[in-house]
Symmetry: C2
Subunit: 488 residues, 2 copies
């Protein structure tokens, strides 16, 4: 059952892919994944298979796997559970190094038939074809164009974040979230029941994968806890691993049993084992996406001091209070730097101490940039948090009789100011763009926020909706780095 | 310095309001508030005052306060700090029972002049006019039409939530948030430095105010801690009080000193004192708005058991895990009820146990309603949490060649199903509407979510973006009720 690095490479970047169980009619999984692969632009050879034959989307449907000319690298199996073992064996004989089984009806249904099918799959896998699934959404690999079951519209931009998940739904949700949040993926694997390939082996591969810089995991249960935590600890020495563990409550434990036939476990034991392994534990998908964004976009270092820059006294007070609770420091800026900032900010109402209160939401981007540059000159500051209440421009637009807020919002100069303040000041910046005006009648605010976010992300500045989400990630990066250094 | 209930009523519902410091030119505070009052539709008499005279927006500008015909009930003062004492004294003589001072430049600037002006204001106030501010945004009262400094577009719908805040920015942000989140206000007071009227006296008033059912506070410092906590404890026996305390860190403490001249305090002491008073402590504005929504919309009771209903196994697992950490229970449903639910949900992939996995996001609303009604028949269940991934309809729309997702989303039947399942089942429902697809190109998803939210809110169903936000509020309501009963 051992697997070589090159086998994984062939699985993620296959040239010849068979899709078993493609009916030209109806809305089956096989048809769905085939059309998704075509839609996303997978450029290798696709071989749909169905005993009835025919054509689909310009491709010949082969009546059997044996009929496919030449050999295949990878197979996607979407036939009813009881037909899966035969299909898998044929794929193995046809040279496939791996297969993903989308079908359900195995150990997760907890019937004697389900367990028997599981056993058969394992037996075939042991002969030399590695299996992802069953009961999964399969692989998403933006570089090669492999995509998940319901994913014709996932991003083709490849990036540094890998995701291994026992849940298909969570995988697709994370892929969707990543698309607009600026998280780019190297490889994503929904492995469902994980009857063959699962968390530990794939983690070992990702540890060595040069395309992956940050690893995310969603696990409902692990097969060999001892081995898993050994590999996890080894991996976190090299790259951060963000872990979401499902089923750590009574009800959650019951649910994972029927979901992927997993054992939940105790919250306390998992928390302490993950901490010992220097993994970053997250509680939900929101947190996982926050962490993936920050860990892939910000320099990994200890952040001992930060500034909080924004309009509105209470906003700054609140951000520093929350930062303090997370062990992050917002030290007063050097007095000469405070003086320089005081001279450029509007008076009265501003405060240059840190939090830096810019007094009103309409301070010109150039002034914001100068403020950041001054603050970057303080040796105690390693990162800046900026809060921009863009919805304020809506009121300005109304006052000026403009119907779309974009006309009065300095979108490009704000993005340029932020981006160049990072380049020139040498310290990373994190942007918070809350939207306090989400009425149906104010869609233009949302549009402008999305535009600013997209542009900031393209310059490498991570963007969050909420201050607390951002602070958590900075605290997590600091802690990860501090522990990693302590272990070395 | 004592104040009667009736005086407060006159302050919040004045018939004659003087606005001191209205220039017909420029963008001054006085002009801003006057135009806001006109825009929001304040129906009483407005008397703008400025030594230069003239007219503004069809109103005569009086050259002095004395020139105003008859007496006034309330004054809004927006003249430079050094002119405030004289203006205030004239308002008092003119019969005003209260005044809000928007101007800054008092104790918060920490100069001898600032402290002296503060002292003078207190002296005049003691003679019989109650002062809100200085350095504040004033009063927002939807019923009477009083609005805050930058608030021409706040909601005129009155409701059950009161807010007392030392921060003007936070007040206006909360008012904006409330408008679309479905939080309706009875009275909102930004009291800034609070040199005269402040947290304790106003809390006493709100305790007796029949229009107020939930009280929110943002405080940076209290004047008389002993008295405050006594009044707070008394108040929470009658209505919930949600408290956000700013300045509980070193940096936050420094910031509140320059923001409203307050003393921060220790996090631990505040946490324990607030808990002893059975107040609900929140960490930020997001949490405060979550709590205000839930406490004003859900029945106040102990929620011992709840269901989690949604598509996607991991989503349900995650919700129950988080609930468990907050002390909320998601018990397995009675087996006969599980059987009934199993018969109506799609197979395979669904699970009726609790969390109830509905298998896919396109389950018809009528089936959702029946599911809720069955679950409501379980005596261990007091509340339902439903998670709807509406963005899934976007893929459906694309598949069907529709350009706007609204065309394929069962908006009205979903709202009707939810609303009638509450009426018929007798158990409250909380809806979670996450949006995992926030690209610029997918504004239609956001539009549909906002439409569904608005309609659900109008039927009394609270809506949240994130599961965790909702769970926190249910846990807080349960705890509040349990403690209140324990004290009785």
């Amino acid at each position: 059952m051992s697997i070589q690095f090159n086998d994984f490479e062939r699985i993620f970047n296959p040239e010849n892919v068979a899709v078993i169980g493609v009916s030209s009619e109806g809305f089956g999984f096989g048809k769905g994944i085939l059309l998704s692969l075509k839609a996303i632009g997978y450029a290798g050879n696709l071989y749909p298979v169905n005993p009835k034959g025919g054509t689909i989307s310009g491709l010949k449907i082969y009546r059997s796997i044996d009929e496919i000319p030449g050999s295949i690298d990878f197979a996607i199996i979407a036939v009813p559970a009881q037909k899966v073992p035969d299909a898998l064996e044929s794929c193995r004989k046809k040279g496939a190094v791996g297969a993903e089984i989308l079908s359900s009806g195995f150990s997760e249904v907890a019937t004697p038939e389900g367990f028997e099918l599981d056993r058969q799959i394992k037996e075939i896998a042991a002969k030399g074809i590695r299996v992802i699934g069953p009961n999964c959404f399969g692989i998403y690999c933006p570089k090669s164009g492999l995509t998940m079951l319901p994913g014709p519209d996932l991003s083709r931009e490849a990036g540094a974040v890998a995701f291994l998940s026992q849940s298909g739904g969570l995988s697709i949700d994370f892929a969707y979230l990543g698309k607009w949040r600026g998280i780019r993926f190297s490889k994503m694997v929904s492995f469902g029941n994980g009857c063959d390939l699962r968390e530990t082996e794939m983690l070992e591969y990702l540890r060595c994968d040069p395309e992956t810089k940050v690893i995310c995991l969603y696990i409902e249960g692990v097969k060999d806890g001892r081995k898993f935590f050994k590999v996890l600890s080894d991996t976190t020495m090299e790259k951060p691993v963000i872990v979401m563990k499902g089923g750590l409550s009574d009800a959650g434990g019951r649910a994972v049993a029927s979901h992927t036939a997993s054992m939940g476990g105790s919250h306390k034991i998992w928390k302490s084992a993950l901490r010992q392994s220097n993994a970053v534990q997250v509680e939900n998908l929101q947190e996982m996406s926050d962490m993936a964004l920050a860990f892939s976009m910000l320099p990994l270092q200890e952040y001992k001091g930060m500034t909080v820059i924004g309009g509105g006294g209470a906003l700054g007070v609140n951000a520093t209070d929350m930062a303090d609770k997370m062990g992050l420091s917002t030290p007063p800026l050097r007095t000469d730097i405070q003086e320089k900032i005081r001279q450029i900010l509007p008076q009265p109402g501003s405060s240059p101490a840190n939090p830096i209160d810019i007094a009103n939401p309409f301070v010109p981007p150039q002034i914001l940039k100068e403020t950041i540059l001054h603050a970057s000159g303080d040796g105690n500051i390693q990162i800046h948090i900026m809060i921009q209440l863009l919805h304020s421009y809506k009121s300005l637009a109304s006052n000026m009789g403009e119907n779309h807020m974009r006309k009065v919002t300095p979108i490009d100069s704000l993005v340029t100011a932020c981006s160049s303040s990072v380049t020139e000041g040498g310290k990373p910046l994190v942007m918070i763009l809350p939207n306090y005006k989400q009425e149906l009648e104010a869609m233009d605010i949302e549009e402008v926020i999305r535009e600013v976010r997209k542009k900031l992300l393209s310059t490498g500045i991570p963007v969050f909706d909420r201050v607390k989400d951002a602070l958590k990630t900075i605290a997590a990066i600091s802690l990860y780095e501090a522990r990693r250094k302590a272990i070395y």
